[in-house]
């Protein structure tokens, strides 16, 4: 059986089981979604967002890309953010990285000439390294350096969220969402909190939008 055929079979089994457990499940699912959380996570197959926090369908709106990044020129993640914050009105945005991240490890090495697009995406991680070079070089092994960059990357992405007009406006007008930076460890399956920024957390002045935004 080809891998994709197995997925389709598993899907049928899942749907039947769900229906048996809760006959109204799919009827409930057909209603509009009202998730409380936006999850910005890594595309890595070993970090399935909803599974590792036992979330039910309908609870978490999910964006996953390489190394859980929020990039100011990226319409993809910013559209997700705008939809989640302005339309779905989520109360929490979570950026969840993970140790042993292939993207972070790649960013600490020389660029791979064959991966022209990945290189551009990972360039932002190299910039974070440069910003925190002293901190990272204080660690002795490559593994520890990479894991420290994983943490600093999560913190940086949470800060970048605060630099968007979407978050600043929602903080000012609706006093939400709370921003969370988490890191997941593949070795023990546990999530650790790294940073939490409630609405009205200080934002460096050069990143602040003028009040004229609120109209």
């Amino acid at each position: 059986m080809k891998p994709f055929e197995r997925l389709l079979l598993e899907n049928k089994a899942w749907a039947e089981e769900k229906h048996l457990q809760e006959p109204e499940f799919f009827e409930r699912m057909s209603q509009d979604q009202k998730p409380d959380f936006l999850w910005i996570g890594c595309a890595d197959s070993r970090v399935p967002a909803e599974i590792i926090v036992n979330a039910q369908p309908g609870e978490i709106f999910v964006h996953r890309n390489i190394a859980n990044q929020v990039i100011t020129t990226d319409f993809n993640s910013l559209s997700v953010l705008q939809y989640a914050v302005d339309v779905l009105k989520v109360d929490h945005v979570i950026v969840c990285g993970h140790y042993n991240c292939g993207g972070v490890k790649a960013a600490l090495n020389k660029q791979n000439a064959n991966l022209v697009l990945v290189n551009k995406w990972l360039m932002h991680l190299k910039d974070i390294y440069r910003l925190h070079q002293k901190d990272i070089e204080g660690f002795h092994t490559d593994k520890d350096k990479a894991n420290r960059l994983v943490e600093l990357n999560v913190i940086e992405q949470v800060r970048k969220l605060t630099h968007t007009s979407i978050i600043q406006q929602a903080w000012r007008e609706e006093n939400r969402p709370v921003l969370h930076g988490w890191v997941y460890a593949l070795e023990d399956g546990k999530i650790k909190q790294l940073i939490m920024l409630p609405p009205d957390s200080p934002i460096e002045s050069i990143y602040q939008y003028t009040d004229a935004l609120t109209s």
Binding site: P3, F4, A43, F75, D86, I191
Partner: protein, 215 residues
Amino acid sequence: MKTIERLLLENKAWAQEHLAVDPGFLSKLAIERTCEIFWIGCSDSRVHADEITNSEPGRIFVHRNIANSVISTDINLLSALEYAVDELRVRHIVVCGHYECGGVRAALRKAHPGQSLLNKWLKHIKDTYRLHRAELDALATDRERQHRLVELNVIEQIHNLSQTSTIQRAWAGRQGPELHGWVYGLEDGIIREIAHLDAESPLDPLYEFDLGGGL
């Protein structure tokens, strides 16, 4: 309603439960392994890639954005695609849309001027509508039009994938990966395959890369 603390508690419970059932489970995952499927799905909280296909962590590399779009200028998705095809060497790429998609519904309405980023993202769905206007306008109800546009959007994204240099080069080099267009029904939980392309599929010459030059 789930609080953020509950997600973290659920994570601890999930990790403990998995370790109780299979003590080697997480250490197996900590070692990087190849996954065979790249999933491009919608961010919608009701469409969990891993859960609806009963997939264990490690099986599917996942990108999720608004309305499972593949856009030729989007470095976010294209770098995930490049990583999946050239590094992980996946055998299958699934674009999975779903009925009752909020992004597709929004694209059928007038744009909201306050959602400047989202509008640009959804513009591509409007373009798909325009391409198939005769077929869509012939349908009797708004709901049917929405459903059909969900399907046409998935088919369009499969073709968008086939028009990338990443896919064309992989098809020429290793006859893979296969591209699958799926639609998930929220009302019954079942995934249906509606389109399929592989290395043998004819390409519109307008979108073909000249791979002879080595670049």
